[in-house]
Amino acid sequence: MQIIENSTEYDAIIVGSGAGGGMAAHMLGNAGLKVAVVEAGPYFDPKDEETRTQLKWPWESPRRGASTNRAFGDFDMSWGDWKVEGEPYTHEEGTKFMWWRARMLGGRTNHWGRISLRFGPTDFKHKDVDGLGENWPISYDDIKPYYDKLDKLVGVFGSNEGLPNDPDGFFLPPPKPRLHELYYIKAARKAGVRVIPSRLSILTKKLNDDRGVCFYCSQCGRSCTQYADFSASSVFVIPAKNSGRIDLFTNCMVKSVTTNSEGRATGVSYINKTDRREYQLKGRTVVLGASACSSARILMNSKSTQHPNGLGNSSDVVGRYLHDSTGGGRAAFVPQLMNRKTYNEDGVGGMHVYSPWWLDNKKLDFPRGYHIEIWGGMGMPSYGFGFNHTDFNKYIGGEIGGYGDKLREDAKRFYGAVIGLSGRGEAIARYDNRCTIDPNVVDQWGIPVLKFDYKWSDYERYQARHMQKTFEEIFDAMGAHVLGDTPGKDQDYGLLAPGQIIHEVGTTRMGDNPKTSVTNKYSQLHDCDNVFVVDAGVFTSQADKNCTWTIMALSMRTSEYIIDQMKKQNI
């Protein structure tokens, strides 16, 4: 079967339409370049009535929102999760990694938690502090102007607190805390944990004429029909497409970057999922924003005489230093929150307050920090509501079990009386934690798949142990009953599986030394100057923060660099 070539020659071919690819589409399209965006999933617009889940009721789902078809439940707006039909991935024996892929325009940004945290000065130079991992080739000062522009362009609520490693920004005002969050603030402070308003890219105030203002349905995970939360689809790619600034290819899965006899990129080869045929696009530059692991996969699958180990992989570093955020969690029953008067408690999608990392690791038995997220309140019941509900009676001397009117009373008595805490922390990037190309397995598109090889170390386990200790201290200070037993060593102290927090980064890390890094400080491949990476692959290290805001700031910076280098005829 012949490969079909498109005669158009693009200035830039952007692979992926999520946070990184979406931002690049916005920047390069606005600069007047001829841009193609190639997305492996179908078209998606949060406004589309046919796919809308926002404000739907649980009874509209025959399974009441259970997670049979979508890992985060029927109403979550991610097409594809840790499993994508016909697109497997494999593991090195005895290891585990969970790889989330959203196959749709805008990718994971359609359902993400909108937690938008700048990395701080220490996060870029953490090796200087504890000798572990590697410093970034850039500093906070290099990226600060982009964070500033990003805040104003996309919108994020929060507050300026003057904290050294949780930088201030240009924030929209945060929403007022809810009752369970007031309980958290009080208890956390008693336990010596700082609490500040959360920082989420949700418009609590008008930002521009193109997007609506939040109407507090707490469903950002379902994607907002008013465009009041940030999704790369609604905010970047759809406007760029509608104004003719980009050509959009959906349901097209990029297989490899094509190169010429000098080893420079000439475009991409992709499979059109609709007719199952292979096509090629020609481009002056290729910008990979397929997600950390997908971009690494594309590079490793782009082998040629000039790049025998895959494109950009003369260092053999592509796929290495893969790391996800650590995760641990705990919930507690709060007797003071029993028998609540009910009212509409829906706020923004997610927490209104949180705790950034507050301690000094020099005094602890693990090297990096974590932040605490909080959940609770009188949320909308869905599948699982009421399961083992009567068990709470054991904390108040009531009768467990039963039926009839007693059970109805229990349902009301305990509704909204549970608070949950989640720790999200920084793992150390390690050479041996990696994804490679599986030599034996292809997906349904004939593309060799990724094989993961990832193990946690005691750095992460001890951090998880500390999370549990902190959670218990906070709940004790609240007068709450912690649910379940403290997870012990045999359970890695409650540390969740790698990949489960969906913050995977580091697979094409940036650095000054081409022998130990894949891209330079502008996210440009050391081995091929017209290929760039704009997803989290370029992260030299994760922080105790979520990665999206930094993906977008870096993508903005790289896009400016591409425009500048093109003007100077360097690429």
Binding site: P58, A66, G169, K176, L182, P381, S382, G404
Partner: protein, 239 residues
């Protein structure tokens, strides 16, 4: 006749033999099936084509049979009977929900089927009749033995029933409180456009927590939410 309609009939006991595999949909003409598909895709709750296909397939499967569903209906209404202000579990369609969910989450199938058989066995032993045919007093006699945990294992022969009843209670609670009827009973008020402007004052007064002026000063001023955001050079919001 669609699946939901035929299920209702099963529960009402109006048609016999409808539980033979395939019978529930066999009276549909291809045209009717097609119309149903269109309905699913247009009015269904934002599903992808693959999900619509999947859901249709699950809906057309048959797992629980007439006798099982009838017994489930009796149990559900013991678990959540009607009150002066709220309908019963069967009023809220809980048996239909359970009929679907055991096909959707097959892990439930064996515990439900086996548990129902255990219940009939226990009823036969005590009263020489199936559970659903027992009198309400007789039914409650068994239920009272299995509706509460038995941590000290005082009645080991009831352990299977206790486990089963717990699952039935869980599914009934979820099935009930995820309906409009359940929402009204619970007092749930959300999932509509809203303006969140803090905890109501009367609620706050009942709790030993409060808003601090410094914190509130940072928060949204609802009156100005529609005014375009502008900042000074230092990041202070000035509108």
């Amino acid at each position: 006749m669609d699946r939901r309609e035929s299920l209702k009939n099963i529960l009402l006991g109006t048609i016999a033999g409808a539980t033979v595999a395939g019978a529930a949909t066999s009276c549909e003409s291809p045209a009717e099936v097609k119309e149903q598909e269109t309905q699913l895709s247009k009015e269904y709750y934002g599903r992808t084509p693959e999900e619509i296909k999947h859901d249709k397939k699950v809906m057309e499967e048959i797992f629980l049979v007439e006798h099982e569903l009838a017994t489930i209906a009796v149990l559900c209404d013991i678990i959540l009977p009607a009150t002066a202000t709220a309908g019963s579990a069967t009023d809220a369609g809980v048996p239909e929900f359970i009929e679907f969910i055991v096909k959707d989450i097959p892990n439930h199938q064996l515990p439900i089927r086996g548990g129902l058989m255990w219940l009939d066995g226990e009823s036969n032993l005590r009263f020489n009749k199936l559970f659903k045919a027992a009198t309400p007093e007789e039914q409650l006699q068994i239920v009272d033995d299995i509706a509460y945990p038995d941590p000290d294992n005082k009645k080991p022969e009831m352990a299977y029933g206790i486990k089963f009843f717990n699952l039935m209670r869980n599914l009934t609670m979820t099935g009930y409180y995820t309906t409009r009827m359940g929402f009204d009973d619970l007092g749930y008020k959300g999932n509509v456009p809203n303006v969140w402007n803090g905890v109501p004052a009367d609620v706050l007064a009942e709790h030993d927590v409060d808003y601090e002026p410094e914190w509130i000063a940072k928060c949204v001023d609802i009156a100005k939410a529609g005014t375009k955001a502008e900042w000074d050079d230092k990041g202070n919001l000035i509108t």
